[in-house]
């Protein structure tokens, strides 16, 4: 008499990877595993794609040899999460990830338009829980870069964690990725609205 007897099915990451291997998803159904929940991403428009390409160009330049920069690729984040962030920066090279997706990214980037709220709330909480040290949202709604750092416990967050430090940077600002030493990047180079 204590609790509901029916709950949403939660998938582990290994189950999810097995589903993919079994061919369970129709091509075109772009899915991600977030905290055990299987989520479907809606198709995105051209500003989103442009934002991804801009971030990729910048981050490949900043994170050259010794780093792997990939776009919309799976991250083996934790036991029940395998998201596909828009841009992933992980140590090493693609050769290191032949047999398993990167598990310890140093920077994740999402380009957000319609997804802004879920990128802030849900993904931010999942990424913070997995101790991803730095998370950027290229916010196409307000044309700013949101920089999230310092994962901390917060029982009110969807997955029990959130980022303690949040900065909103505009087109005239610069950002230094934590893992890139002293390098500074112009935020304008990450915002599609700043393209000539």
């Amino acid at each position: 008499m204590t609790r509901a007897t029916l709950r949403a099915k939660r998938w582990t990451r290994l189950e999810y990877e097995r589903l993919i291997d079994l061919g369970a998803f129709r091509s075109g159904d772009q899915v991600e595993l977030l905290g055990g929940n299987l989520m479907v991403c809606e198709p995105q428009g051209t500003p989103h794609m442009t934002g991804i390409r801009m971030a990729e160009e910048v981050l490949r330049r900043v994170f050259a040899t010794g780093w792997e920069v990939r776009t919309q690729a799976p991250v083996a984040l934790d036991d029940e999460s395998e998201p596909e962030p828009d841009v992933v920066v992980a140590p090493g090279s693609f050769r290191d990830y032949r047999h398993a997706h990167p598990a310890r990214p140093v920077l994740l980037v999402e380009v957000a338009e319609a997804s802004l709220e879920s990128d802030r709330e849900h993904k931010g909480s999942v990424y913070a829980r997995a101790q991803v040290p730095e998370y950027w949202i290229i916010n196409l709604v307000d044309n700013v870069l949101e920089v999230y750092r310092d994962p901390i416990v917060d029982s009110t967050a969807p997955f029990g964690w959130r980022y303690g430090s949040i900065s909103r940077l505009g087109a005239g600002d610069f950002v230094g990725p934590m893992a890139a030493g002293q390098v500074r990047v112009a935020v304008a180079d990450l915002l599609p609205s700043q393209l000539p």
Partner: protein
């Protein structure tokens, strides 16, 4: 800026049946597809298991030849639902459903203790939407039988349908399945 671009995966019944065939689920995991959502049933206790057995026995005796009484087996309810009601009564013989789960049960029964609210709202709405004419809840909380009939559209119900008629029966009363109105069953036979 209209909708969130992230939503829970909605499964069709065919996709779900494919997952089952592929062996995607853990052994012993009791899964149901309800309105596109994959749900897991928690294990249930002894009173529940006993009540399911009692209902199965009573319905098998009442329906007899020409009907199959299935316990906790899948029903191909609609395009995005494949529940496993505690008891389902379907026309024909067991072998008729070798190649596909039954789609048109004449009676579904859920035995409810902690699941009562869910059985009354979510499941009732789904069963009503699928046109299931007769739905019973063996309510172990209040020790009564709830009989739901007359499915009708209702935009406020979880799945857009509900049952128009609800009857509560107690020990001492009898119930007759809609499909076989002359076969009466003492309610006492269905309760603990």
């Amino acid at each position: 800026m209209t909708t969130s671009s992230l939503r829970t995966k909605h499964w069709s019944r065919l996709e779900y049946e494919r997952l089952v065939d592929l062996g995607a689920f853990r052994p012993g995991e009791r899964i149901e597809l309800l309105g596109g959502a994959l749900l897991v049933r928690e294990p249930q206790g002894g009173p529940y298991a006993t009540a399911v057995g009692l209902v199965e026995d009573a319905l098998r005796e009442a329906f007899g030849a020409g009907w199959t009484v299935r316990g906790q087996m899948p029903i191909a309810l609609d395009d995005d639902s494949e529940p496993e009601p505690d008891i389902a009564v379907v026309p024909g013989r067991r072998r008729d459903y070798t190649r596909g789960h039954p789609a048109h049960p004449v009676l579904l029964v859920e035995v409810a203790d902690s699941s009562l609210e869910l059985d009354r709202t979510e499941k009732a709405s789904l069963y009503a939407r699928a046109g299931v004419a007769d739905y019973w809840i063996v309510n172990l909380v209040d020790n009564i039988l709830e009989v739901y009939r007359d499915p009708r559209a209702d935009p406020h119900a979880p799945h857009g349908w509900r049952y128009g008629s609800t009857t509560t029966l107690r020990i001492g009363e009898v119930v007759a399945p809609l499909a076989l109105p002359d076969r009466t069953i003492p309610v006492a036979d269905l309760l603990l």
